[in-house]
């Protein structure tokens, strides 16, 4: 057993930490959130130049061949500001789904360009507002020659406006299919949502033709394959939340020592201490379940239960960590310029992404104890 990062991993962590500190300083990030469009094309381009877009893609396809744990280390640091934009969807999720479900020709067409940063992806799979199920897919794909015509919408797509391409599920007569859709096509409208969220959109389709070349999978097992393929990326998303929790923890601890009321630092008050205690417990729960899940993926152990468990706990933890931080920061923590605000928003925005904690706990249970199985 070894519960520390290796020297190389610590160096990687340090490189990303400096990148985040320079390119997404906490003084700037709240402004990005206020602007309504959080994606930063320059930052994304630099991340691609550094080799972090498609980092887990095998090297022959233009990727970095990173282990899942190393991608987790990168995303943990990205979560600190938190760096917004389609980093997880475009750097991790889309390349993974394409790598597992697309034909060799499609992989060559899409993946190297993605790794270079020339193709940015949004991903829209289920259309449920809180769960992640095939039955909730509403976008209709009518067969038209060898291709399909899309009508309807993909709901709650993160960073759609920042993307060139949408990797999306649709419902066809033959079942669920997976498509790569050029978001600049005629008939597509990207409708922003307003609310306590950020860069979340519906993508509306009005008779949009998609050719055979862009249908990634029309296999009868398309949805199952999609669900299965994305599982290894879940702890990378969880790692982003772990880094976010860590940063919120640090700023909160600092504040308990700096903020003086009633003649003493608020960290002297036991009620305030209690908030930080609970915050720390949530952070550490997310951290260690996430690290273990990343390790399980890389070491070839059964990981299904672990990745869903880590996703459930990381989502809940980030949400709760922000809650407890708000109890400590009180008024100042709710000012739109405060670095806590992007975290509070993101903790809500990512809470149900690819399924909420209850959904992931069900998946964990299904992996551990399939319903109706023998003893």
């Amino acid at each position: 057993m070894d519960l520390r990062f290796s020297e190389e991993q610590l160096m990687l962590q340090d490189v990303v930490a400096r990148f985040v500190h320079q390119k997404a300083p906490e003084t700037e990030v709240p402004r990005w959130f206020q602007s309504g469009v959080t994606h930063q094309p320059d930052l994304y381009r630099q991340a691609a130049d550094t080799g972090w877009i498609g980092m887990c893609v095998p090297e022959p396809l233009g990727g970095g061949g990173f282990a899942t744990m190393d991608a987790g280390i990168v995303f943990e640091q990205l979560g600190r500001s938190p760096v917004p934009g389609p980093l997880y969807t475009s750097a991790i999720l889309a390349p993974r789904l394409l790598g597992e479900l697309a034909s060799p020709d499609q992989q060559l067409r899409f993946i190297p360009a993605t790794c270079k940063g020339d193709l940015v992806w949004a991903v829209g799979l289920s259309d449920s507002s809180r769960r992640f199920t095939e039955n909730d897919i509403t976008l209709a794909a009518a067969e038209a020659g060898s291709g399909v015509v899309l009508t309807g919408k993909k709901r709650f797509v993160h960073d759609a406006l920042a993307a060139d391409m949408l990797l999306c599920s649709a419902r066809s007569a033959r079942g669920t299919i997976l498509l790569a859709v050029d978001l600049h096509l005629q008939g597509i409208r990207i409708a922003p949502h307003e609310g306590f969220l950020s860069s979340l959109y519906d993508v509306e389709f009005d008779q949009v033709e998609v050719g055979e070349n862009d249908i990634i999978s029309r296999s009868p097992s398309c949805w199952h394959d999609t669900e299965t393929a994305l599982e290894v990326t879940l702890p990378i998303l969880s790692a982003y939340k772990v880094g976010a929790c860590q940063r919120v923890f640090e700023m909160t601890v600092d504040y308990t020592n700096e903020r003086v009321v009633f003649g003493q630092p608020i960290g002297r008050f036991q009620r305030v201490q209690d908030h930080v205690v609970e915050l720390t417990n949530h952070m550490d729960a997310a951290r260690w379940l996430t690290y273990e899940a990343l390790w399980k993926v890389d070491s070839g152990r059964p990981y299904r239960a672990a990745v869903h468990e880590a996703k459930a706990v990381a989502s809940q933890s980030y949400y709760q960590v922000c809650n407890y931080a708000n109890m400590v920061f009180a008024g100042p923590g709710t000012s739109l310029d405060h670095p806590l605000v992007p975290h509070t928003v993101t903790s809500r925005n990512l809470y149900g992404f690819l399924g909420d904690p209850n959904y992931h706990k069900e998946k964990m249970m299904d992996a551990l104890f399939p319903v109706g199985s023998g003893t």
Binding site: Q264, G267, V272, D274, V276, V277, A285, W295
Partner: protein
């Protein structure tokens, strides 16, 4: 990072084979102990004798206290060996520190850290070899969380201390050989600067032990009436006891860490898999699965953090707040279990079942929720300590004391 507890060095692999083989022979026919993660044998004298004998055998090989030097009765082994031993004994449902009820797990590291050479050579071997039962005897009726208000007084008279006072809620069912106790050695002195630790032979005249039944099991009241103890049995220096307490309390407050986990949920899962009602098998029912999922997640988090505590302590780089964190969580999770078990099991969740170990008896799970919120300090002192270790409202973070 590697979470595989059996990712061994060549020496660990060799040692693991040796330990595994030895334990398989020693534990043959005792599969019933698979979930015995605590000391309690609930009055089963046959099991108690087996576990005492096992402790003597383990102790004889130096495996109960592997990293203590052999001259003091330990194994003279490395932390790598200790990690192997912890893992291997947990495969049989036991913990190194809980083969039978003795607080040697705390007393040994404290005496090793704070005792003089003569004391270490005299006191440690019987403890390390599993030959004696030692209770820790701290709490006083007026004290509770405020340990420093000690009114049990040890007065120096010649070459002896004479102890008078009363301790409560300590020990277990079998009469102890030794009492490891903290006393006031300077009643007029400044708070914290007037206490000392002393190792008392429990058979000394003037020691009276009176059972005290509590909802989690049997505890005791210990009376000291003119108990004469040699001055050589005071450990760590007169009036230096508060500093000695840092080591003691860190270990009492879960700082040691563990790889054993809590088997209560394992038994609940087994029960839900094997039992049905009119709606079908319990484990297939959505409401049961929801509650079970939360219990499994909490148990997993707790085990991960306890493992983290053990591993980093063995690296001599302890997580400063790790012990109090898992202690606080363990109690909160225990409290949540008592309700969750009842939600799934109904009245069955309150029934005593003597055929299983106490740790997995639903009756005990329901008791221990409320009953284990206080031992060694309350949830509130846990959080107080936690805050100090995080450095909240202080110039400096308090670090973890040396325990190994």
């Amino acid at each position: 990072m590697n979470f595989d507890q059996e990712a061994d060095t060549p020496e660990q692999a060799r040692f693991r084979r040796e330990v595994r083989e030895w334990l398989e022979a020693a534990m043959a026919g005792r599969g019933d102990l698979k979930w015995s993660t605590q000391w309690s044998t609930r009055g089963n004298e046959v099991e108690y004798e087996f576990r005492r004998d096992l402790a003597r055998k383990l102790g004889g090989k130096g495996w109960l206290f592997p990293t203590i030097p052999a001259e003091y009765g330990g194994g003279g082994l490395s932390v790598d060996h200790q990690f192997v031993l912890e893992g291997e004994i947990s495969r049989h449902g036991l913990g190194l520190s809980q083969v039978f009820y003795t607080l040697a797990r705390i007393v040994v590291p404290v005496v090793h850290q704070w005792g003089n050479e003569e004391q270490k050579k005299r006191m440690l071997p019987p403890l390390c070899k599993g030959e004696v039962i030692c209770w820790q005897v701290m709490t006083e009726p007026q004290g509770g969380s405020d340990l420093a208000t000690l009114t049990t007084v040890a007065k120096r008279v010649g070459d002896e201390y004479v102890i008078n006072g009363q301790k409560v809620m300590v020990g277990s069912t079998h009469y102890p050989d030794y009492l490891w106790t903290i006393v006031n050695t300077n009643p007029g002195g400044e708070r914290h600067e007037n206490v000392s630790w002393i190792y008392v032979n429990a058979h000394t005249p003037g020691v009276t032990i009176q059972p005290l039944p509590m909802i989690m099991g049997m505890k005791n009241i210990v009376f000291f009436d003119d108990v004469h103890v040699p001055v050589d049995d005071l450990v760590g220096g007169e009036n230096n006891g508060w500093r000695v307490s840092t080591t003691h309390l860190e270990l009492e407050h879960d700082g040691a860490g563990s790889v054993s986990g809590d088997p209560a949920v394992d038994r609940l899962i087994e029960y839900c898999t094997e039992n049905s009602d009119a709606m079908g098998r319990l484990i297939d029912q959505p409401d049961v699965r929801r509650i079970l999922a939360d219990a499994i997640v909490d148990g997993h988090v707790l085990k991960m953090l306890q493992t983290r505590n053990l591993w980093f302590r063995l690296q001599r780089d302890p997580v400063p707040y790790g012990g109090v964190q898992t202690r606080y969580l363990r109690r909160m999770v225990g409290l949540a279990y008592s309700q969750r078990f009842q939600e799934i099991l109904g009245y069955e969740g309150l029934l005593k079942d003597l055929s299983v170990d106490e740790a997995t008896d639903f009756d005990y799970v329901s008791r221990r929720g409320p009953a284990t919120l206080h031992g060694g300090g309350t949830l509130d002192t846990d959080r107080l300590q936690f805050a100090r270790r995080l450095g909240l409202g202080r110039r400096q973070r308090e670090s973890a004391p040396v325990t190994i």
